[in-house]
Symmetry: C2
Subunit: 197 residues, 2 copies
Amino acid sequence: MGGPEIDRLVGLLAKLPGLGPRSARRAALKLLQQPDTRMLPLAQALVEAAKAVKHCHICGNLDAQDPCTICADPNRDRSLICVVEGVGDLWAIERAGAHRGLYHVLGGVLSPLGGIGPEDLNLGPLLTRLADGTVTEVILALGATVDGAATVHWLSERLAGAGVAVSRVAHGVPMGGALEVLDDGTLSTALRARRPA
Amino acid sequence: MGGPEIDRLVGLLAKLPGLGPRSARRAALKLLQQPDTRMLPLAQALVEAAKAVKHCHICGNLDAQDPCTICADPNRDRSLICVVEGVGDLWAIERAGAHRGLYHVLGGVLSPLGGIGPEDLNLGPLLTRLADGTVTEVILALGATVDGAATVHWLSERLAGAGVAVSRVAHGVPMGGALEVLDDGTLSTALRARRPA
């Protein structure tokens, strides 16, 4: 529809998470109707971000500076490292303002089915960061999936000799969540992990 | 999060229909993780489409050629013009393969509340297209909204003297639709517009 340029644009937009073929066409149409105010600015933003943004060599975060804004921030608590699977998790925790320490992006979780083994994870640099004794606690903030839980187990064993406390995020009923719509696993976990009221 | 380049990219992505702030961040992250295979190709596709795609001077469609692929196609039925509100409607009808004639993009529907009057619609060029007698029927394929219905009414009066048959698309129960979930307006219309079985 409308020539190869439109087809190509729709095809690339449709690969973005959250957009399917139908919404990609709507997005392309919206862009095509405002080439100068929407389309070219987006193209420019993509090029500039691709040029500027790199992985932080310390923690693995994506940022326009290296070390990243968080690693370079003198006000962050350097004794606390929060280990996350990906940069999206880091962003989510930052948006929530839920952590005042540093991060370490693991780049994945162990997944025998997905072919992801220990050697695929960004573990070496984490061990290096723990070596000088500044860090006193590592918080494992991985997803409550089978692979996430296996990775938490494996990591806590690997970190046992590093001289730091190792903790993991709590699992239970999400805030604002009604009990009746929760899955069995979450309900069982929430009951088992009950605390004094 | 991650510097002004990322913020700017997320902000522009969040303005696309179908993406909100949260999905725009996910999309930006996905792109940032594959700068060369996803991000720069998308930037290039945007620039190329912005350069190549124009409105067809005959029907108002968006296409890399002018007249557009449809207006230039010798196999289309030139006696039939389907009037639509926007290019998205034209694309939808084409995807359905539901029309073998030509199109005319009105560029909107009359909307007293939205401040859209007759002078804002692409009507003059339609009247010009009807002048040489090739066209025998104009199909009004506008949305079944209050504004759409008012525009159909107004257009059929304006086209009364043009020597062409004027029709409008049927309204009723959508194909595959269960009656019990339909709104009252659609049910009433479907019953009133009943036909011999």
